[in-house]
Amino acid sequence: MMRLLLALTIAAAAWGADEATLEKGRKEEQRACLPCHSLRLIHSQRLSRAAWGRELDKMAGWGTKITERDALLEYLVASYGDDKPVTPPVVSGDGRKTK
């Protein structure tokens, strides 16, 4: 039993935050960040926990009301941490006809 508990603890640590926290963080990202900019701005970056923390502080200083800071930070680190692979950005459609 103890060994199972230990294994679960290690697994949880390896996984990072639990899924409920990540989902809460994802929702907080939509609520807090989307009013000012699209999420690509976030999702294109790969930052350490400390660096994501500083970004949240900067945005809070610029008027963003972040109510679930811990969950948002966990979500950012788990999804866009500096150990995560970079995904190539998308290419826009041809807008020359929609001038």
Partner: protein, 382 residues
């Protein structure tokens, strides 16, 4: 987490991710623009793919876009005014017609985002992860900023000019305000551009954009509404701590020392390889290595290219116009002698003798990347 729970979680996350992609990160088209690399679409941060860099003038519909804050609402050109005030004897409100009546000048100049190449820094730093394409070369036309300031009777003791545009921050996001020393403001190549490559600048700052040749893109304020002659440099986020560079380099990953940060002005010497593209394949046959090189306020003197990882270098052919502020295209004809993977490098030298470094100084905001450019190409038997 048990396997079945993990699978369920993964499935839930995948559905959520798909919904999110559709809702937020889905396909986007920018009116008037060719397909560009989208780093952000609200506001627009768009990078030019290397394949569009085969001409000396970058077409407007391929030119990169950097917005800090959302574009202003549609501007009525007939109603637009540029206020000139501060340390001037004749404060004024200039219409576009007033600006068009002044002598018009055309300056070819390379515009580069201060953070172009940020993605190459390690450790990674926050900000738009620009690769090679947050840069372009255009011919800018309009009256000299110096003529506008002289007309307003700028005071001899004014030391700086503050520039504001029609865009404003959201929530408490700071307004995009910049200033520059009076010497650069009075420089004959510093313009209030009404045209970009003979067209309306549109998303690039219609109807009036500041042109500060050789200086970082952040200095080139868009949709200008106000010019204020002042005794002091402006404050505000975009002057401090934004767009400052450490006077003394510190180890990669170190925090900035605020007192040691300086406003970025002129840009460094740099070259970019545009063909062949990194990671591409080429037939075992003669091919042309292409690129462009630029050097802030200087002109490009030479570009050397290596096809063997830097063991040997050859001078590249340069396009004829050797101008300050504007880039030069370069080419090198290359006939690989054997199949295999080749590391191609380019290294520019400017008229002041500045040379691109192998390793640019890491800095906490990822500005001014100008390392020797490097691409890999696999040559295969035809």
């Amino acid at each position: 987490m048990p396997a079945n729970r993990r699978e369920l979680f993964a499935a839930v996350m995948a559905v959520a991710a798909a919904r999110r992609m559709k809702a937020q990160d889905g396909p986007v088209t920018i009116p008037g623009k060719r397909p560009l690399i989208v780093h952000n679409d609200r506001p627009e941060d768009l990078e030019t793919p290397l394949k569009y860099f085969d001409t000396w003038v970058t077409p407007n519909d391929a030119f990169f876009v950097r917005q800090h804050i959302p574009r202003p609402a549609a501007i009525d050109p007939a109603a637009h005014r540029v206020q000139v005030n501060g340390m001037v004897s004749k404060p004024s409100q200039l219409s576009l017609a007033d600006l068009e009546k002044l002598p018009q000048h055309t300056v070819p100049a390379t515009l580069e985002c201060t953070g172009n190449g940020r993605a190459f820094y390690s450790p990674k730093v926050p900000g738009i992860q620009w690769g090679r394409g947050a840069v372009g070369n255009a011919e800018w036309t309009g009256p000299r900023l110096g003529d506008v300031l002289k007309l307003a009777g700028v005071d001899a003791s004014a030391r700086h000019v503050e520039i504001d545009g029609a865009d404003t921050g959201i929530a408490q996001t700071p307004d995009f305000l910049r200033s520059m020393p009076i010497e650069k403001a009075m420089h004959p190549a510093t313009l209030l551009a009404l045209k970009m490559n003979d067209e309306s600048p549109q998303i690039h700052g219609f109807p009036v954009r500041l042109i500060v040749p050789g200086w970082d893109g952040t200095s080139w304020v868009k949709w200008i509404t106000r010019l204020t002659a002042r005794a002091e440099m402006s404050g505000g986020f975009f002057m401090n701590p934004g767009y400052r560079y450490p006077k003394y380099a510190r180890p990669p990953g170190s925090a900035a020392v605020p007192a040691e940060l300086e406003v970025i002005e002129g840009m460094p010497v740099k070259s970019t390889l545009t063909a062949p593209e990194d990671g591409s394949k080429a037939a075992l046959a003669p091919l042309v290595i292409r690129g462009f090189a630029w050097a802030g306020e200087n002109a490009i003197e030479r570009v050397d290219v290596s096809t063997d990882g830097g063991a040997r270098w050859q001078p590249a052919q340069l396009s004829p116009q050797k101008l300050p502020f504007a880039w030069r295209l370069f080419t090198l004809n290359w006939t690989p002698q054997a199949p295999g993977y080749y590391t191609l490098l380019s290294r520019a030298t400017d008229t002041a003798g500045r040379v691109q470094p192998i390793v640019p100084a890491w800095n906490p905001s990822g500005y001014l990347w100008n390392g020797i450019d490097r691409v890999g190409v696999t040559v295969e038997k035809a």
